[in-house]
Amino acid sequence: MAAPAESSSFLGLGPGSRDPATVRRRSRGPRNRKKGWKRWAGPEARLGREIGDFLEDVVLQQRATGGLIAEQPDEGLFFVDTGNAEKDRQLNKGKEKPLHVDLVLQPDSKVPAPKNILAHQIPNGRKEKRRRQFWEKQAEKGVLPRAERRLRARLRRGGVPPEKAPEKGRSDPERGFYDIWAADNPLERALAGQDGWFLQQTKKQRVKRPARLRTKPSQVPAVEVIAAGGSYNPTFEDHQALLLQAHEVEVRKKRAEDKVEKQLKIPAGAELPTAETVFQEQCEGLLEESGDEEDGEQPAPPEDTPKTAPRREKKTEQQRRREKEARALATRRRREKAARCRRQELFRLRSLRLQVKRWEAELLRRRQARLAKRRAKDALPRRLGRLKYEDPSMEVQLSEELAESLRTLKPEGSVLRDRFKSLQKRNLIEPRERAKFKRRYRLKYVEKRAFREVTL
C-alpha cells in the first residue's frame, strides 16, 4: 500500500519523509566528482545571477533609451496618440521608406564609437624624425647608411647579379658537373692541406673504402650481347641455333611440368573414391564396435607363448680354459703375422712408393675437382635470399616473325627487364617478388547518395 502513497503528492508516512515544500533543493550531486565543484551553486550563486541579470538589464535600458526607464519622466516614456492612421498613410505616400537592409545595418548603439588615435598619430614619430634628421646631417658630410652603401656598391660592380636558381639536388636536369678526378676538385678542396690526424679525429675525413669492395661480386659482363641468332636479320644457321636453345629451354620446362602432373595423377590401378567409400572412411572408427560383435564368433587369435632365449648350459672349467688358450693363440699368430708382414714390406718399398704416389695423385685430382666445382659455382648467380635467380625467358623470333626490313621490325622482350635481370644475375640485388598488398580490414561497400547507381 505504500507505493501509491509515495507516488501521490501527499505527505509520505515513512520515517525519513519530509514536507516537499520545505525540502531544500539538493546542491548538485556529490562533491567528490568534478561535476559537483561548480562554483556558482548555492544561495550566493543565485544572488550573483540575479545581480548579473539586473546589470545586463540596466545596460540594455541605457543603450536603448539613454538612461534607466524607471527614472524617466512619464512624458519621456509615453505620448498620447492623437493622429489619424488614414491621414498618415496619405501624407507619407510620396516619401520612400528606407530599406529594411539599411535599417538593420545602421548602428543602433547610443554609445559613440571610440576614435582611432593611430589615424592621427605616427608611432615612434619623434624617434624617426630624429633619425631622419641625423642621416640628413650625415649625408651632408658624405656618410651614407649601410644598406644604401651596399646598393651603390652593387650598382658600381655592374648591374644586378643574375640570381642563379639553386640546384634541386642530384636529379636536377640542369645540374652542373666538374672534374672530380682532378687534383683540386671542389669535393676535397675544403680539406686540402690540413693535417690528416686532425681531420680524422674531428671526423671530417671520410672513412676509407675497404679494398674488399673493389672486387665485383660476379665476373659476368655488365652487358651481355645477345647471340648472333638474335640479329634482326640473322643467318639461317645462327637463327636455327638460337631456336634450338629456346626449344631446349621449353622442353625442360615442359618436362618439369609433366613430372608434377604425373605425380598428381591417380595411379592406373587405383579407383576414384565414390560417395560410398568416402562415407565408409568417415565412419571408420564408429562402426568398429558392431563389427567387433560380429567378429566375436571367430575364435580368438592363437595365443602365442612368449619365446624365451634357449637357456645355455653352464660352461665347464675345461671349456673356459680351452677357449682362453685358443684366443691367446690367435692373438699371437696375428701379431706374428703382422710383424712378418712389416718385415716383408722392407722389400716392397718400390711398390709402396708407387702406392703413395698414386694416393697423392688421387688427392690432387680431388682437390682440382673441388676447385673446378667451386669455380663453376662462382660463375653461377648465388642464392641471396628466399628466392632463387631464374633466367629470363629467351628472346627469340620464329622464322615467320622475322622482319623483312628494319621498318617492319617488331622488337622482342624488354631492355628494362633485361637490365633488371642482369643486375640480379651479377649478384648486385637479391631476387625478390613483389610485395603483396594485404588489406587488414574488410572493405565496406557504401553507396554514396550523389552517385547512386541507377536501377530501373
Binding site: 636529379s171 636536377d172 636536369p173 643467318t235 641471396l384 621490325l409 624488354s414 631492355v415 649478384n427
Partner: protein, 585 residues
C-alpha cells in the same frame, strides 16, 4: 680442461655476417632506404659458405651482408639525410592534413636533398675505374631517357638521363670512337673504344614501351640516380680530354645556321638547345679552335720486349683503325622519314659522314632532299618513286653492315626492295675450326680485298699474311687426314708460286727476303712438330690424338653445317625459281 664454456655462434662465420633485417635495424633505416643506401654505396649481399652456421642453426634462406660492410655504411653522411627526409615527409603530411598551406610551402622550400658526388669519387678513385664500369651507366641512362614522361619515374630523372645520353653520343661522334653496332631484336648494341677501354651499351628501339610489371622500378631508379651522377662526371672529363666545352656548345657557324629558320617552331627556348644537341648533326665548340695543320704524327717508342714483327702488326692495326674511323668521310647521307633517325645519324656522324633529313622530321636538318651533292639516301620502302640520278638509294642495314665490315660494302645488295643479306653480329669471334657462315667468309674475303673490283687497294704484305690465315682455315675444313702438316707444307709452296704469279709486282726485295725467312721458319717448325710427335711417350701420344680427334670432330661438325646450309640455299633458290616461273605463267 677448464676455462669458460665455448658458446655456439659467438665466433667464426656467425659473427662475420649479419642478416638484412638486423643490418637495417642497426642503421635505423626503413627497408626501402636501406636498399637504396646499399645500391648507392655499392654494398651487395653475400652468400655465406656455411649457411647453417651463419644462420645460428636455422636453414631458412635469408639475405646476408658482411658485418664489416654494414659498419662501413654507418659512417655514411647520406644515412642522416635519409632520416631527415623521413622527418620531412612526416611534417609535410601533417601540414597537408591540417591544410596549413604556408607551412607546406615552407617545408617544400627546405626539402632535404643529398648529392652523390663523394660516393662517385669513393667508388671510382681513378677515371679508368669509372670507364670500366660505364657499360651499366650508359645502358641505364639510354633506357631511362626513352621512358615516357608519365609518372613511371620522375620526369627530372628522365630529362637528366636524356641530357647525359645525348652528351655522350656527341662525345663519341667528336672522338670517332664507335667500333661496332648490332641491330638485335631486343635493341641496338653499340661498342665504342673510349680512351682504350671497350664500352658496350644497349639502347632500346624508340617504339612505345610495354612496361614490364615484374621489374622493381624503385631499384632501377636508384641505380639510375647513381649512374647519372657517374656519367655526368665522366662526360665532363671526356669532353675536357678532347678540349671540348662542357656543357657542350654547338659550334658557332652551325649555331648561326640553325637559329634563324628553326628553333622556334620546334621547341621552347629552354628545350631547343638540348633538341639541337640531340639532333647530332652539328659539331661541338672547342675550348681552343682546332688547327688542322697541327696534327703531327706521334713519335713511336718501341716497348721493351717487343719484336719488330709485333711493332709492325701494331702499326698496321693502327693504320686500319685510322681508316675505319674515316669510313664515311666525304659522303653525304639523307635519311628518309621512315628510317630510325637517331641511330643512323649517330653512326654516320661518328664515322665522318654528313647527314641530313627532312626539315619537318626533326630540328637540325642541314640540307634538303634536292641537294645534288647527296651521295647516299637511306630508304626503307619497297619502291622509290622519283629517283634522283647521282645518288644511291640504300636500305639502312647498309650503314650498319659497312661499319661492322670496316669498309663500304658493295651497294648492289642493299637496294630498296632487294632481299637483304643477313645482318651478322660483330660481337661473335669465331675460333679456329668453328663453323663460319658463308656470308662471313665472303665478308672476310672482301676485307682482305679479294674482290676483283677492289683488290688493288690493299697493301701487299697484309694480304699475304691474311691469305695465310685464311688458307689455314680452309685447310682445316678440307683435310681430315692424318698428314695435316705435310699438306700444309705442300699447299704453302703452291700458294707461294701462285701468289708470286698473281700478285702485281710491287714487292720490294727486302720484303721478299723477310717473307722467305718466315716461310723457312714455318717449315722448320712443322718439321720439328712432326718429329716431336714421333718422339712422344705413349701416354702423351694418346692425349695428343684425343685432342686432335676433338678438333677434327669440330671440323666435321662445321662441314656438316656447311652442307646443311648449301642444301638450304639450293632449296631456297629452287623455290624462288619456281615462284618466278609461276608468276610468269
Amino acid at each position: 680442461m677448464g676455462g669458460l664454456e665455448k658458446k655456439k655462434y659467438e665466433r667464426g662465420s656467425a659473427t662475420n655476417y649479419i642478416t638484412r633485417n638486423r643490418a637495417r635495424k642497426k642503421l635505423q633505416l626503413s627497408l626501402p632506404d636501406f636498399r637504396r643506401l646499399c645500391i648507392l654505396k655499392g654494398i651487395y649481399p653475400h652468400e655465406p659458405k656455411h649457411k647453417k652456421k651463419v644462420n645460428k642453426g636455422s636453414t631458412a634462406a635469408r639475405t646476408f651482408y658482411l658485418l664489416k660492410d654494414i659498419k662501413f655504411l654507418l659512417h655514411e653522411p647520406i644515412v642522416n639525410k635519409f632520416r631527415e627526409y623521413k622527418v620531412f615527409v612526416r611534417k609535410l603530411r601533417k601540414a597537408y592534413g591540417k591544410s596549413e598551406w604556408s607551412t607546406v610551402d615552407r617545408l617544400k622550400d627546405n626539402k632535404p636533398s643529398y648529392k652523390l658526388d663523394h660516393i662517385v669519387k669513393e667508388r671510382y678513385p681513378t677515371f679508368v675505374d669509372a670507364l670500366r664500369d660505364l657499360d651499366d651507366a650508359l645502358s641505364m641512362c639510354f633506357l631511362f631517357s626513352t621512358f615516357p614522361r608519365t609518372g613511371k619515374c620522375h620526369v627530372q630523372t628522365i630529362q637528366l638521363c636524356r641530357r647525359l645520353a645525348v652528351e655522350f653520343l656527341n662525345y663519341v661522334i667528336a672522338s670517332r670512337s664507335l667500333r661496332k653496332v648490332f641491330l638485335s631484336i631486343k635493341g641496338i648494341y653499340y661498342q665504342a673504344e673510349v680512351l682504350g677501354q671497350p664500352v658496350t651499351w644497349i639502347t632500346p628501339y624508340t617504339f612505345a614501351h610495354d612496361h614490364p610489371t615484374d621489374v622493381d622500378y624503385r631499384v632501377m631508379a636508384t641505380f639510375t640516380e647513381f649512374y647519372t651522377t657517374l656519367l655526368g662526371f665522366v662526360n665532363f672529363r671526356l669532353y675536357h680530354s678532347l678540349n671540348l666545352l662542357y656543357p657542350p656548345k654547338i659550334d658557332g657557324q652551325a649555331d648561326v645556321e640553325l637559329k634563324p629558320a628553326e628553333g622556334k617552331d620546334y621547341a621552347m627556348d629552354s628545350e631547343s638547345y638540348l633538341e639541337k644537341l640531340s639532333a647530332l648533326s652539328a659539331s661541338l665548340a672547342r675550348v681552343v679552335a682546332p688547327t688542322h695543320e697541327d696534327e703531327v704524327e706521334m713519335d713511336e717508342f718501341p716497348v721493351e720486349g717487343e719484336t719488330a714483327e709485333q711493332m709492325d702488326t701494331r702499326k698496321k692495326e693502327q693504320e686500319a683503325l685510322e681508316k675505319h674511323k674515316k669510313l664515311f668521310e666525304g659522303l653525304r647521307f639523307f635519311l628518309n622519314r621512315e628510317v630510325p633517325r637517331e641511330p643512323l645519324a649517330f653512326v654516320i656522324r661518328s664515322f665522318g659522314g654528313q647527314v641530313s633529313w627532312d626539315k619537318s622530321l626533326c630540328i637540325g636538318a642541314t640540307y634538303d632532299v634536292s641537294d645534288p651533292s647527296i651521295t647516299h639516301q637511306i630508304v626503307d620502302r619497297p619502291r622509290v618513286e622519283q629517283q634522283v640520278v647521282g645518288r644511291y638509294y640504300l636500305q639502312p642495314q647498309w650503314v650498319f653492315d659497312s661499319v661492322n665490315a670496316k669498309l663500304c660494302l658493295p651497294v648492289a645488295d642493299y637496294f630498296p626492295g632487294v632481299l637483304l643479306p643477313p645482318h651478322l653480329s660483330p660481337f661473335v669471334t669465331e675460333q679456329e675450326g668453328d663453323y663460319v657462315p658463308p656470308e662471313k667468309l665472303k665478308l672476310l674475303a672482301m676485307q682482305r680485298g679479294e674482290n676483283p673490283d677492289e683488290e688493288s687497294e690493299e697493301e701487299d704484305g697484309e694480304e699475304e699474311e691474311e691469305d695465310d690465315d685464311n688458307e689455314k682455315e680452309e685447310e682445316e675444313e678440307e683435310d681430315e687426314s692424318e698428314k695435316e702438316e705435310e699438306m700444309k707444307l705442300k699447299k704453302m709452296e703452291e700458294q707461294k708460286t701462285q701468289s708470286d704469279k698473281a700478285l702485281p709486282v710491287k714487292v720490294t726485295a727486302g720484303k721478299l727476303r723477310l717473307e722467305d725467312r718466315q716461310r723457312l721458319e714455318q717449315e722448320q717448325q712443322s718439321e720439328e712438330k712432326r718429329l716431336a710427335i714421333m718422339m712422344m711417350k705413349k701416354r702423351e701420344k694418346y692425349l695428343y690424338k684425343k685432342i686432335m680427334f676433338g678438333k677434327k670432330r669440330k671440323v666435321r661438325e662445321a662441314n656438316k653445317l656447311a652442307a646443311k646450309r648449301k642444301a638450304h640455299d639450293t632449296a631456297l633458290k629452287e623455290e624462288k625459281k619456281k615462284s618466278k616461273k609461276a608468276r610468269r605463267a
